[in-house]
Structures are given as structure tokens and as C-alpha cells.
């Protein structure tokens, strides 16, 4: 069953989009439901790069197919539908490839710079956009030291 959000992808086909989201979900496997939604945003941002980067699009497409194949060897219908432990096992096969290392970089650079994630991990960066600083906001106090 295709998640409707997969239709938002422009470079990748819906089934490929779901595989990409599943991979990114294992790179940043936070439990909070709102962070699972952010993974879709990060995947969409990556997809927008693939619109013009034809070489990378081709490499990624090949990798996504490869992961589906490896997942089926593990008895799962596809990578996206495989249980998390199987997904991790499959990803460990490709962990050292340049493509996967690049994908980790692209995922974390986008995901952890998103405001929803800042809020979830307690980083008040969004409140700092006025440039006023932490001068009277506890920059020099630590109760436990």
C-alpha cells in the first residue's frame, strides 16, 4: 500500500520513495511520532537534489533496488516492509560504501537542522533567532557544579 506522501516525490517513484524514507528512518530512529514525520521532509529535500543530480539519482535507484533484493533474501517482502532488525542487518552490509556514508551525511545534516527536531531534543535555537543571546538566560549557571 502506497503512503500518499510518497506521491510528493518528484525524482523517485513512490515505491522508491518509501524505501528511502525507511532507510533514513533507520539512520535517525527516534521514537517520537513527530520526528518520524520529519524524516519524510528530509527525504523530500534529498529527492529535490535528485531532480537535477541525475548521476546520484541513478546510483540511489540502483541501491534501493539492491536493498529490496537483500531484504527479500531475509524473507521480507521489501526493505520498507521489513522489520527494523532486518533493515539494520541489511544496511550493515552497505555501511562502508561511499553512497551510504553520503546518505548518512545528507540525512543528519538536514534532519538535525530542522526546528521540529530542535524542539524535540530541547535545543532552544528557534527562540534565539532574535540574536539577543543568553546573557540573562543562564549561560553561566549550572546548578550541579
Amino acid at each position: 500500500m502506497t503512503d500518499k506522501r510518497a506521491l510528493l516525490f518528484q525524482a523517485l517513484q513512490p515505491s522508491e520513495a518509501q524505501t528511502l524514507v525507511a532507510i533514513m528512518g533507520r539512520i535517525v530512529p527516534h521514537g517520537a511520532p513527530e520526528l518520524k514525520d520529519v524524516v519524510w521532509q528530509t527525504a523530500l529535500a534529498y529527492d529535490s537534489q535528485l531532480v537535477t543530480d541525475i548521476g546520484l539519482r541513478s546510483d540511489i535507484r540502483f541501491q534501493l533496488q539492491d536493498l529490496d533484493k537483500r531484504s527479500s533474501e531475509q524473507g521480507a517482502p521489501s526493505f520498507a516492509e521489513a522489520p527494523p532488525n532486518v533493515q539494520d542487518t541489511v544496511l550493515q552490509y552497505i555501511e562502508d560504501t561511499a553512497l551510504f556514508q553520503n546518505l548518512i551525511y545528507a540525512t543528519v545534516a538536514d534532519f538535525y537542522n530542522r526546528h521540529t527536531v530542535w524542539e524535540a531534543i530541547g535545543f532552544p535555537g528557534l527562540a534565539q533567532r532574535d540574536g539577543a543571546g543568553y546573557l540573562d538566560k543562564g549561560f553561566d549557571t549550572l546548578e550541579w557544579t
Binding site: 539512520i27 556514508q101 551525511y105 543528519v108 537542522n113 543571546g133 553561566d140
Partner: protein, 553 residues
């Protein structure tokens, strides 16, 4: 009220063309313009406005400020992304942390102090600490260094954790000398403890030539500043003197600005790249490279970091990023530590995205074969983001002749200029120092109560040094003690590439002090030239005498 800026026609020889507007270029430009010298400044990057363009978003600011043109990494210990330096007016003084330390006296005499170290090309500086001291003091006044010309920085929460651990280990953590205003100074505001030091200081409390040296130079009317102009080569005449700079203008047209004198301050990768790209029949190995050492002895400091997770919140991202320092390991004690030279521990913290990228980095930003953190270990790190403390290890790396900058024979940039290849491998001394430093930092954070500690490998280099070393022997160095090229008397170098050895201190203050001293020398030489009615300018080792003096070996 400021005078209108001079506009120098391309075919009129500017008194001085300065290439680069960072720590070195900015200080030279300020000093020359205040002395009434007509300067054309070429800056490869754009001019940003601190208040309008600096944002509280480290990824956006990295993309706005950084030198992102291709550089090819080579060697086992080079990072996949080679440098973290800037391409904008102000150069890397927009991104620097503000740590404004003087080198220690013995570090000017590395060869004498450390002796002969196998595989290291150690050298003494041609000047000593006492010679540079008055220029350090002037630089500290110009930059506004807290702890020197104003009260020291207040400790942030990251520092309080460092201090707790240091005290438990019998070490001393203290506020370092920082070129960040702790009170209003020189018309610039006091620090608001905003945190985003690496992303550009919006309220201009952290010194940058962007909003100190450059505006002061502009106010004289003698500066013709040209952003978005990338220098491509330096032209010379039949006598071997520099006559102009060929550059790509903002519209991509290749033009040449004539010059009576050229000051090159493009940092330790772009400066040798430009010299090597300026080869001619007279200078077949590259301009000012009769010695063959242009591009060699590339140093990037011995660096690493340590991050630690605590049971209680730290919020280490608050306040002045690099204000805290431990100097207990900065001395040279090879008998106890089994390596030469020293290092410092300095507080550091990154935003969420760069924490995820750099605490346990992959080959894209770190060395070949490293593995980026992903999955549950990454989640464990990031969900404890507010409970992290961090410190940076910065120490002396040893110069090696084969650590170097060369030109790629094939790959060229958008203007047809060969791309720089940067080759680096650690010296055994560097490896020993880094391992020792990680151990000490781990012990410090464990004593402070850390539940988990990460040994973090080097980031892309911010301290790029050594590729045009200064010295008194023209066969072994590129420039003299004033940064004047041995072979081209009207060519000067004003950036970290002139360092013969790296010292263990953040290099910016030393670059600034050397630049101020160089500018004073140029001003004196020009005055002398004028008094002599236009004889050889400036005095120094001319091309004729060099031709006879350079011998191999």
C-alpha cells in the same frame, strides 16, 4: 565623515594590491590605508552584512561563509572535506572562535628546543618572541582582546563542567584570551552570549576584519575593495618584479590590475596555489619558488575533540564557544610525555546538525575509512544533546616536507585555474600527542561525572599553516622575516602560510601581529623610496642577488 572610496583604474599601478581580506589581509589593509597608501583589495567572496546576513543557523551560515570550491584531499590523515575556512570579506575571521593567544617564546625556536626529530622539517623562526611582542600588543588593542585590554570572559556552562573536571584532576581551567568584547569596545557591542561564534557574530562583539579593519580602511578613502574577485595569477616583468594581479571580476571577465606591490593573504592553501599558478619562464617552478618549498610543510595543527555526556543538563551551546582553556599541557616535556611540543584544551560546542555530523564523523568530513555514526548510537547521542559538554584539542603538529599543496594536473575551477591538491599524513609525534591528549580529556570529563565520552577525530582544518615558510636562508624558505619574498622584492605574504612551525596556539593573533609588522615595514620602505626619489623599492634581497645565491641543498 568618511571620504569617498578611491577607484583605481586597471591600468594604473595601485600602490599595493592586497589579495584576501582575512586576518592577514585585513590588518595590512587597515595599516596601509591609515598611512595614506592607495590599496586595491581583491576578495574572492562576497561582502556580507553582519546584522542582515548572519543567521542563527549553523548549516546556512556554513554555506554562506565557507570556501566550498573544490580542493582535492590526498594522504591517509587528510579529511575528506579538507578545510573549514571562509570565502567572504573578512575571510575566516567571520568564522573563527576568537581565541587570541600569543605563541610561547620557545615555540619560535622549535628546532633549537626540540632538537632534530626524524622525518620532521623543524626550523627556528627568523624572529623571536620579544621582536613580535610590541606587535602582539598592538594587535590585542586593535582586535580588542578580553583578558588583555578588557576584563576576561565570564565562564559559560561548558566551561563550568571543564573546570569541575580540571580541578578534580589537579589541572587549571581558566578564561582564555579572547578577541570578543566583554564590554563595549572600539564602537562595537559587548558579547550577548549568543553562542553562534562559528557562524558569524551578528552583534560584532567578536573581532572580524569585516567590521573593524575594513571599515577603518574605507573611512580613509584609500581603499578600493573588490568583493567577488578571485585572483588567478601574479604577473612579473623581465626583472622579476611583480607588476599586477590577473583576476576574475564579478562578471567572470578575466582582467589585470596593475600594481607597484602585491601582498598575498589568501591562506595557506590558496596562497601557494596562486604562486604555483604564476609560473613563468623566469620562475618555472612557480613564483618565488626557486627554493622549491612553496606549498611544502603544510600544517593544520594537531587537533581532535572530546565530547562527554552528563546525567544533568549542561546546555554547552550557550555563551562564548571557546572561552575556556586548560594550558597545563602547553609546555614541552618530552621526557614525561614522549612527544615534543604542547597542546591546549579549549571549550567547544556545535549546533545539533554539526554535532550529529562531527562527534563521530564519516569519510566525507573526516579521514578515509572512518564511519559516520547512525542508528541507535546516533539517537542516544542526539537525545542527550543538552547534556553534552565538549572541548577541542589544539596542539603543535610537526612540519613535514611531503605534507604539501600542489596543483592538480587536470582538474580546473570555473576560471581555468588548477585545483589545489592537499596532501597530509600525521607524524608519529602528532599521533602520540593526540592519543595522550584524548586520555587527558577523557580523564577530565570522567572526573567531572561523565557517563559517556567520545574521542572525536579532527574536523576539516581551520588552522592551515606553513606552505610559504619564512626564514633567513632563501634556499630553504620563501619569505624573509617581514613576509617579503626572497626572490620578488615587491611581493609579500601576510597569512599563516609563512609560519615555519605551527606552535600550539590558535594562530590568528600571530597572523595579525605579523601583518601589522609587515605593514610598518612596507610603509617605511615606501617612505625611504620616496625620499630617494624612486630608487629600488623596497630594499631587500633583489632578484639579481637571489639568482646567484640559491643553490640546491
Amino acid at each position: 565623515m568618511a571620504r569617498p572610496a578611491v577607484i583605481v583604474p586597471l591600468d594604473e599601478a595601485a600602490d599595493v594590491v592586497v589579495i584576501g581580506t582575512g586576518a592577514g589581509g585585513g590588518n595590512v589593509i587597515r595599516e596601509l590605508c591609515l598611512a595614506g597608501i592607495k590599496v586595491v583589495a581583491l576578495e574572492a567572496g562576497p561582502r556580507l552584512d553582519a546584522d542582515r546576513d548572519f543567521e542563527e543557523d549553523e548549516v546556512t551560515m556554513f554555506n554562506k561563509l565557507s570556501w566550498l570550491d573544490p580542493v582535492i584531499p590526498k594522504g591517509p590523515d587528510i579529511t575528506g572535506s579538507v578545510t573549514w575556512i571562509c570565502k567572504s570579506v573578512g575571510g575566516s575571521t567571520t568564522h573563527w572562535a576568537g581565541a587570541a593567544l600569543r605563541l610561547q617564546p620557545h615555540e619560535f625556536k622549535a628546532r633549537t628546543t626540540y632538537g632534530a626529530v626524524p622525518k620532521a622539517a623543524l626550523a627556528d623562526w627568523p624572529i623571536d618572541y620579544d621582536t613580535l611582542l610590541p606587535y602582539y600588543e598592538k594587535a590585542e588593542r586593535m582586535l580588542g582582546v578580553a583578558g588583555r585590554v578588557m576584563p576576561p570572559a565570564a565562564g559559560n556552562t561548558n566551561f563550568l563542567v571543564m573546570k569541575r573536571g580540571a580541578e578534580a584532576c589537579g589541572l587549571k581551567a581558566q578564561p582564555g584570551f579572547m578577541a570578543i568584547n566583554t564590554e563595549e569596545y572600539d564602537g562595537r557591542a559587548a558579547c550577548s552570549q549568543r553562542g553562534y561564534c562559528f557562524s558569524g557574530c551578528r552583534n560584532q562583539a567578536k573581532w572580524s576584519s569585516l567590521y573593524e579593519a575594513i571599515p577603518k580602511a574605507e573611512a580613509t578613502g584609500w581603499l578600493d575593495l573588490r568583493p567577488n574577485c578571485q585572483a588567478l595569477s601574479i604577473s612579473t616583468d623581465a626583472t622579476g618584479r611583480a607588476t599586477g594581479v590577473v583576476y576574475a571580476d564579478p562578471d567572470g571577465r578575466v582582467v589585470e590590475q596593475k600594481a607597484q606591490m602585491v601582498v598575498l593573504a589568501g591562506n595557506s592553501i590558496q596562497t601557494p596555489r596562486l604562486l604555483l599558478n604564476s609560473a613563468s619562464s623566469r620562475f618555472p617552478a612557480g613564483l618565488a619558488n626557486g627554493s622549491g618549498v612553496v606549498g611544502r610543510h603544510y600544517m593544520r595543527h594537531l587537533t581532535a575533540s572530546t565530547y562527554a555526556q552528563f546525567p544533568q543538563p549542561v546546555h554547552a551551546y550557550k555563551g562564548m564557544t571557546m572561552m575556556g582553556i586548560v594550558t597545563d599541557f602547553a609546555d614541552n616535556r618530552p621526557e614525561d610525555r614522549h612527544y615534543v611540543g604542547g597542546f591546549h584544551l579549549e571549550t567547544i560546542m556545535l549546533g545539533p546538525a554539526f554535532t550529529a555530523i562531527f562527534v563521530s564523523p564519516g569519510p566525507l568530513t573526516s579521514t578515509v575509512g572512518s564511519h559516520a555514526l547512525w542508528g541507535q548510537p546516533l539517537v542516544d547521542l542526539m537525545e542527550s544533546y543538552t547534556h553534552l559538554a565538549g572541548l577541542w584539542i589544539v596542539g603543535e603538529d610537526l612540519p613535514q616536507a611531503d605534507n604539501r599543496v600542489t596543483l592538480d594536473p587536470e582538474q580546473k575551477d570555473a576560471y581555468g585555474m588548477p585545483v589545489a591538491v592537499v596532501t597530509y599524513s600525521d607524524h608519529a609525534n602528532d599521533v602520540a600527542m593526540r592519543d595522550y591528549a584524548w586520555q587527558q580529556a577523557r580523564a577530565l570529563y570522567t572526573a567531572a561525572g561523565a557517563t559517556q565520552v567520545w574521542d572525536t577525530p579532527p574536523y576539516p582544518a581551520t588552522h592551515n599553516l606553513g606552505t610559504c615558510r619564512m626564514g633567513s636562508d632563501p634556499s630553504k624558505s620563501v619569505v624573509n622575516e617581514y613576509g617579503q619574498a626572497h626572490e620578488v622584492p615587491n611581493l609579500f605574504i601576510a597569512d599563516g602560510s609563512v609560519f615555519p612551525t605551527s606552535g600550539s596556539e590558535n594562530p590568528t593573533l600571530t597572523i595579525c601581529a605579523l601583518a601589522i609588522r609587515q605593514a610598518e615595514y612596507i610603509i617605511e620602505q615606501m617612505a625611504e623610496h620616496e625620499a630617494n626619489g624612486g630608487a629600488v623599492i623596497p630594499d631587500g634581497v633583489g632578484p639579481a642577488s637571489v639568482t646567484g645565491s640559491i643553490q640546491p641543498g
